[in-house]
Symmetry: C2
Subunit: 341 residues, 2 copies
DNA sequence: TACAAAATGACCAGCGCTGTCATAAAGTTA
DNA sequence: TAACTTTATGACAGCGCTGGTCATTTTGTA
């Protein structure tokens, strides 16, 4: 029926204590024994009972993922990555979608952690960028890993996985520049998300490097939504000197921009180039498909979980080395073209 | 520190067993005792440990959601609904994305249930339509609720939540008919998903009622994907007598059809009406926005979870009454118009 | 060959709770 | 009031695992 540690021990011909030692990779176990036990575990499809471990141990075997993100594809990818890492390490994942702007959010997070005895938490924007959350978590002594926008590991931001939006945006902008565009506009995402700021900075840096100063009218504030893209692009395309290319802060905004351009009978990419960011399924299902930057969310999530597990385990508490950096890659599709003269 | 059942028992002056009885509202406890215990729990801010309960009890306090669906919005909506229901009843939700076509899938599901001691499972297509899964689950005596396509409760399909695709498709088709279309094509979803068959049946029924027989060439097999929509529509629009309207089995297919039409410089909706199904965010972010059918996924999920909890609890095991039926509603947007003569 | 070091097992308590069964209190009947 | 039924409560084992303590066996090394 149910496979327990006893079954594994019997099958491997060792004591349950040794199986336990292997599971918790305690020292003083021969490699041969480790292999035997692992094999027995595999063959029996053994999965340690998280409930029992949580109960017996001072440490805990579940981590939480708190999120408030309208982008379903992002969330699903993150979940996948976290789940994969959890399965590998015998952890459980507790998902907790909630409202980041709710007034009681800090208490809500604390309650969640304490009630469910979480070993740690993975935070994505906007939670990863809320200092009050980080403080609260530190104060109750819970490990957490933040996935944030940033390009260079720094000791200030410990336990972070960095997504280098700056460099990615720099590359995207270069792509546009190489196509001959110089009148490039930028549609921002939400102010609160630092990713938007980082992408904008990368954009500006690329322009500056070519000696172009960004036209202030070409930088349009907004939010990470289709509607915002529509609005921003409509505004841009009403300008007397229209841009020849638009860099949208994500694919949804880009889709909105595309929509707006189409309403005005502007041909994409012949009359206007548009780029997105994220490589969400949206970007493949617009017409034309969007040039964008691919963000390996699932891998990023795995990396975050691994970091959490490493922290949780005693020993190696290194600092700056533990800051993986991911650079989204340029993905050229059909929404960008040589500037028309 | 951490308050346990012992603290409550001590405070209330009863045994821990009695506290347990109160928590699980078991019979045979005097009202006075119940009050005493409840008060003690309140004063101590007592929260029972889910881990301990799961470990000790034959019943469990978590349910699982197994899925294999490329549509992230659908999955997220389902999760939301399930999570809401779980929170209300003090349950935990375990999510388990996996591959329905993997050869070991039945064993995988069994392992999951046994290992995590799940109280029950919520299944959506394709899992809800796999007889081998239902059999396996029954054989190990685990409760489950299936969300499936169907219009009439039947004793055969116990523990099901029905989504009436037939009626919804019938209504959508009527919408097209009322706009004067008679040359209507249908882009199918995956054969394995009965929703596709149900929608097709509703489509045919609406045509038949108006005395139109469906042109066999207008019924194109496919799958629930953008690509399939592109392919199907391309095929249809190459026909000597093109359809004037296309009913796509879901929004992604519809988006694909839109894409294909656009490639051929066909104006939507002036020259061709297209409808989708599901009201996913996609349908709002195409140009023009899609006429579609709104499926209240989150509500459906809640209803499924409630059904599961009701089953799990002893007593009321009614049959046919427990089959909620949801009918997706027609949502007219801009991808459909009067047929052009 | 002797001896230290490493690897493993045997055993026990206990995490916080529930299930089972025994027992005590209360209610009913004649 | 005895005899008995019903209802309320408690004692205790045990869920699957960890963490500790020792004892024992196997290995490596001088």
């Amino acid at each position: 029926m149910k496979v327990t540690i006893h079954d594994v021990a019997a099958k491997a011909g060792v004591s349950i204590k040794t199986v336990s030692r292997v599971m918790n990779n305690e020292p003083s176990v021969k490699q041969a024994t480790i292999d035997k036990v692992n094999q027995a575990m595999q063959e029996l499809h053994y999965q340690p009972s998280a409930a029992a471990r949580n109960l017996a141990s001072t440490k805990s075997y579940s981590i939480g993922y708190i999120y408030d993100n309208p982008n379903a594809y992002y969330v699903i990818d993150m979940q996948r990555g976290l789940l994969d890492a959890c399965r590998r390490h015998g952890y459980e994942l507790l998902i907790h979608p909630t409202n980041a702007k709710s007034p009681g959010i800090v208490q809500e997070v604390i309650d969640l952690v304490q009630h469910s005895r979480l070993a740690g938490l993975v935070l994505t924007p906007p939670f990863s960028e809320m200092p009050e959350i980080a403080e609260a978590l530190s104060s109750i002594n819970v490990d957490f890993v933040r996935i944030i926008s940033g390009s260079t590991p720094s000791p200030k931001q410990t336990n972070c996985v960095l997504v280098d939006d700056f460099t990615a945006a720099f590359k995207i902008t270069n792509h546009l520049l190489e196509l001959g565009h110089s009148q490039i506009a930028f549609l921002c995402g939400d102010d609160e998300h630092s990713s938007s700021g980082e992408r904008l900075a990368g954009f500006k840096a690329a322009l500056t490097k070519r000696g172009i100063n960004a036209n202030p009218k070409f930088i349009v504030p907004g939010s990470y939504s289709f509607e915002s893209g529509v609005k921003g692009a409509t505004q841009l395309l009403a300008l007397p000197n229209k841009p020849t290319a638009i860099f949208a802060c994500n694919d949804e905004i880009a889709a909105g921009a595309l929509f707006s351009a189409r309403l005005q009978h502007i041909e994409i990419p012949q009359q206007l180039s548009i780029v997105g960011f994220e490589n969400s399924p949206f970007s493949r299902q617009t017409w034309p498909p969007l040039t964008t930057a691919h963000q390996p969310n699932s891998t990023i999530a795995q990396s975050a979980a691994e970091l959490l597990f490493k922290h949780t385990r005693p020993g190696s508490h290194s600092q700056t080395e533990d800051q993986p950096v991911f650079i989204p890659e340029l993905l050229v599709r059909e929404s960008t073209a040589q500037v028309s003269s």
